[in-house]
């Protein structure tokens, strides 16, 4: 992870808004403590990578901090012994569909709650928010039964249907739409634009950061989700990455190199997405609770 990527928004000289960094004893201790903490946060990632590159790890011996004979053997075996490419493809497919669907369903609903008043709208919005509090576990059994009746267990449809809409996205985008001045709508309306054109041409372009935040969250949620795919996707060919990883552990209890190779592969896309959109992700998290 390059520092340049992470600090692009700030001047290279470091924070100048607050007091300048003075290298007093206190400040040095603080830097050391924070760096040690960061090391503790980063070490498991390093260890995952090292393990994945050390063939036969876990069978014997004490771990070493540098792989003696680094090899991509574990990665190769992952793709030959297990339908791993298929599994990665499944996760990707479901994550992309979920993301697009949530962007669409959340944006249209948010437009209603921000711009289209109707009697009882507050109550309807309250029900939307309440769905956020219902634990997935309550829904698992009836959802499973329902989708089995429709013959959708073990299908991508079955996996993706319950993730098409999420109240969190509606909430997030509504917050953003409320920041867009109503005068913009009014001006467009005077020019003869209807709601569809205002929504598409005025509102959406003005909430791009919020849409990006939601896209990242929806993708991350789907990519990392475990319980529902575990329940609904039973055959190896349709399984998703986290489920397959959990299964790998059972199959290859001692072959940690393979398990860790799978973990590295599952982290990479999120890491790329994170480096690309970290400003949005962190702000998105911060904004959900505050302001």
């Amino acid at each position: 992870m390059a520092e340049t990527t992470l600090t692009r928004q700030r001047p290279r000289t470091g924070p100048r808004t607050g007091p300048r960094t003075r290298w007093s004893a206190r400040s040095i201790i603080l830097h050391v403590v924070i760096a040690l903490g960061a090391l503790a946060m980063f070490f498991p990632f390093y260890w995952t990578l090292i393990t994945s590159l050390s063939p036969g790890t876990g069978l014997s011996g004490t771990p070493s901090f540098f792989p003696a004979n680094p090899s991509l053997d574990a990665y190769l075996r992952l793709f030959t012994d297990v339908p791993f490419a298929r599994v990665v493809g499944n996760s990707l497919l479901l994550a992309v569909i979920t993301t697009l669907a949530q962007l669409f369903t959340s944006a249209t609903a948010a437009y209603v709650f921000s711009r289209l008043p109707f009697p009882g709208r507050g109550v309807v919005f309250g029900i939307y928010l309440a769905t956020m509090m219902i634990p997935l576990q309550v829904l698992v059994v009836p959802l499973f039964a329902q989708l089995r009746t429709w013959g959708l267990v073990d299908t991508y449809f079955g996996a993706v249907l319950p993730t098409l809409a999420a109240a969190f996205g509606v909430f997030l985008l509504r917050q953003a739409m409320n920041q867009v001045p109503v005068q913009l709508d009014e001006a467009a309306s005077l020019d003869g634009a209807g709601h569809f054109r205002i929504f598409w041409g005025v509102i959406l372009p003005n909430i791009r950061p919020a849409l990006a935040t939601l896209a990242v969250f929806a993708f991350m949620g789907s990519w990392n989700s475990f319980l529902w795919p575990l329940v609904v996707l039973r055959s190896p060919e349709v399984q998703t990455l986290p489920v397959a990883l959990a299964g790998l552990q059972g199959q290859y209890t001692t072959q940690w190199d393979i398990v860790m190779a799978g973990s590295v592969i599952s982290i990479l896309p999120m890491l790329a997405l994170y480096l690309f959109a970290q400003k949005y992700i962190i702000q998105g998290v911060a904004n959900t609770g505050l302001k």
Binding site: H31, F113, L116, F144, L227, I281
Partner: protein
């Protein structure tokens, strides 16, 4: 700065349907119909899935909880038997206790840790954006990966943690193989993963504090501890409140990391509520009892959340 829950009910000032432009304004009746149709078209894409896949199953779960059902044969009506059985079974108390144990260990760790990191990263620190990124990294990683990595790090025989402890002459515990250490292992891994999330929320809260208030306290002779406890911490209460609400809701639903690290073992020492719901349904074919347990869990979460929201006036300070 207002909190999540009060914000949720605030609606922007919009007076009636916005004018639709001259082209559309023909007769009043058809205009209202068009407007209603527009609202429907915009609302249905989300309302249909939320109804079909959240509200209907929620009600269905209540129905299923009153039956005995193994997912295969037709369900058999048993009234409140499942609830009675759960409430009289000492195992139920045990799994709720394990869940509470998890929360009680996890919450202080993640809050105090996240607060210390946020405070440190809020000072003039070199490379704080990089540090923020590193501390946040585990948040974007899936629970399964985190659980697998920590299971490996905490491996009692040749894991890194026990190897390092060995250098210092400490004989590391059996971590997830020892019933006494299994839950602390899960708590450790969970806190490691979530501390960055808490840090970001608290950092946003800290940055919203007006520095003049701290300066004023300094002028009045308040030392650093006094300033922290009398100014910073009270002004951070909305962020603290948010962290508490979210962490408690998530804590009661802890599952992925338990499933992947211990599967509820050893000897049921880490059997939590959701693991039990999963086992009841898919291992023992007792979907009715599982649904009853899931409704009990929902009621507990609802009660705790309502109590928190009610209690927030006493200590949450929305300056």
């Amino acid at each position: 700065m207002t909190g999540l829950l009060s914000q949720a009910t605030a609606t922007p000032p919009v007076d009636g349907p916005p004018a639709l432009g001259p082209a559309v304004s023909r007769r009043r009746g058809s205009r209202r119909l068009r407007y209603a149709l527009t609202v429907l078209v915009f609302l249905l894409p989300s309302a249909v899935p939320l109804t079909l896949f959240v509200l209907v199953p929620m009600v269905a779960a209540a129905g299923i909880s009153l039956t005995e059902w193994n997912l295969l044969r037709p369900a058999e009506w048993v009234g409140f038997d499942n609830y009675v059985r759960l409430l009289t079974n000492p195992e139920t108390a045990a799994i709720f206790w394990h869940t509470l144990y998890y929360i009680l260990g996890y919450l202080p760790l993640v809050y105090v840790g996240g607060l210390l990191i946020a405070l440190a990263l809020n000072t003039a620190l070199r490379g704080r954006t990089l540090f923020r990124g590193i501390y946040f990294l585990p948040v974007i990683t899936s629970w399964i990966v985190v659980a697998l990595v920590w299971r490996w790090l905490l491996n009692p025989s040749n894991g890194v943690v026990n190897t390092v402890l060995g250098f210092f002459g400490i004989d590391g515990p059996g971590w997830w193989t020892d019933p006494a250490w299994a839950m602390p292992s899960i708590i450790l891994a969970s806190a490691w993963k979530d501390i960055g999330f808490v840090m970001v929320i608290l950092l946003a809260g800290l940055q919203a504090i007006d520095p003049e208030l701290l300066d004023a306290a300094r002028v009045d002779g308040a030392g650093p501890w006094r300033r922290f406890f009398s100014v910073t911490l009270p002004l951070l209460s909305p962020a603290t409140f948010f962290v508490l609400v979210i962490s408690l809701i998530n804590g009661f639903q802890v599952f992925d990391q338990v499933y992947a690290m211990t599967g509820g073992g050893p000897g049921g020492a880490t059997q939590v509520v959701v693991q039990q719901i999963y086992d009841l349904t898919f291992r023992y074919g007792r979907a009715g009892e599982a649904s009853a347990l899931s409704w009990m869990l929902f009621i507990v979460i609802l009660a705790v959340t309502v109590i928190q929201i009610r209690g927030q006036r006493r200590w949450v300070n929305y300056g």
